[in-house]
Subunit: 362 residues, 2 copies
Amino acid sequence: MKQPVRIAVTGAAGNISYSLLFKIAAGEMLGTDQPVILQLVEIPQAMDKLRGVAMELEDCSFPLVHGITLHDNPFDGFKGIHYAMLVGARPRSKGMERADLLEANAAIFSEQGKALNDVANRDVKALVIGNPANTNCLILSRNAPDLDPSQFCAMTRLDHNRSLGILGNKLGVNPSDIDGVTVWGNHSPTMYPDLHNATALGESVIDQIDESWYKTEFTPRIQKRGAEIIEWRGLSSAASAAQAGLDHMRDWALGSEGKIVSMGIISDGSYGVAKGIYYSFPCICEFGSYQIVKDLEVNEYGQSMMKKTEQELLEEKAAVDHLLPADTAESRENLRTSTDGQTQFDNGVDAASAYYKADRIC
Amino acid sequence: MKQPVRIAVTGAAGNISYSLLFKIAAGEMLGTDQPVILQLVEIPQAMDKLRGVAMELEDCSFPLVHGITLHDNPFDGFKGIHYAMLVGARPRSKGMERADLLEANAAIFSEQGKALNDVANRDVKALVIGNPANTNCLILSRNAPDLDPSQFCAMTRLDHNRSLGILGNKLGVNPSDIDGVTVWGNHSPTMYPDLHNATALGESVIDQIDESWYKTEFTPRIQKRGAEIIEWRGLSSAASAAQAGLDHMRDWALGSEGKIVSMGIISDGSYGVAKGIYYSFPCICEFGSYQIVKDLEVNEYGQSMMKKTEQELLEEKAAVDHLLPADTAESRENLRTSTDGQTQFDNGVDAASAYYKADRIC
């Protein structure tokens, strides 16, 4: 039996987490041979509700769940974690300006970045699901100077999965037979779902679809799918967002089996995208790391679409720039070489004892 | 690749189904090598919401989902199905008497029984999750005279799983190391969670726990766990109920690997329980069937507990007796021997075409 890994989930009493946690606990994310300790984080006002969620997890008698702990702050909740699923964020309330929204979330993700920096396992992988995910991820990363920016991701996998599902249904093929789809840029209506390098059962997709369907139906549908779901279901996407988060983390940890997946990652300047923002690129995952797939062809239309979403991310960054700590890329390099990669926390949790330790659901 | 199986879920736009469907679609129920066609059933007023759920399923690009169809009545929704998860039921509204509740549900489950009888695959397995589950199951079965009463179950697995989870936490062992727990009787506060034959890591459980804890804390906690969840979470158990339904169906279909599971099944008179009611017994599943585990010792306390919950089920039966068709056990025997076990519906759905057939999400 493998040693359990520690997974923190924020916004753990919310709707997305309610779909996510019971899938992680069943082994959908890291495999049915990987025990987990769930470290659930909420705001103080939601702790009662969170306890109810933990009780339901207990009621499922999941063999893989070797412990559950509940926390009202990230400095406790992130101790020793290997994975962080950052679901909780401040939603836009009525009359709230975009700048207010960015600032409100900046406060949350600054604190969480500091907490990751201080108490997480040194190899932690953190995925930001809460919106605005890309800029939240930037804030998170900049507040964790001891960790590498590549340890942070913003989730664009939901847009990627939506593209596969809707395209599969259109073409009449199984989504798993499609490869090469990329969602570029921001997880927002400016995102660019690019089908130009996509294949279905090995055949070029772009040759099989009508250009006007692609540009005037498919693209806006992916960009605004969230609103379409709300319109029909009366509630925002929760289960599909949870599934996307799980898919992102599973592929990042266990590999994408040679397939391209879209991930919001720190730009290294590839494809001419400005450095220093979290932008969704086509990636392949292996051995617990991602790599950007280079040399994909991007036509003129694509370049203009990519610029537009890049521009939005640069504007979001400008709006929170005064809140960001200095970019310590250089000092980070020094730090990284002087540490030995070990965390100060005990990650070798004894499986049997963790399950029944007193704070399991306290 | 296996042929897809058809799974109907009723109440498919509700909270339990929202947890259940995305787990079935990911392969948690029947395995990650078993494609599925989801036939989602709702009341006409919930069809818009249901469409939103189907869109989210599409948005997950699940490789195993080869089709989704939406239905506002069971005669369409149950066509050719191999599995029925009957989640939808009429909840008790304010001022509703117990008899009213039983009658309102009798109407729903009578119709669904007739539909199963008329249009489901002849080997269909139907699990009633909607409460009052045991008596709803009786009504369902009695309205499906061409199917065997052993093809119907009422879910008591949630109570079983709760017992394992809470006991595991108490003893400090993994729930998967516990065996021999039985929840007897009705899925209601009269249920009897019996630990007298249980072992944890091979050691007798009853020797390790205090009798007064067992009788005055554990037992009422299991019996009223639903209310406890509502108190903390502010909402009724959905994810844990979904997981229990999935566990029940998985074990029934694929086997319980020699372990005892609690299932609400037609009483054959075992343990002196009155025949003709759906009562939860200790079962072992193999080869797609269940068998009652006989010869477990039941002490005097246990016998009185078992009688009490049996009595409640007999009273529930009496309250709906005037609505039940005659018990056609004898005529059913004749019917069974004269049919060839084949359904009139096409179950060999072509995997590729089913995915993109026009009614996939219509």
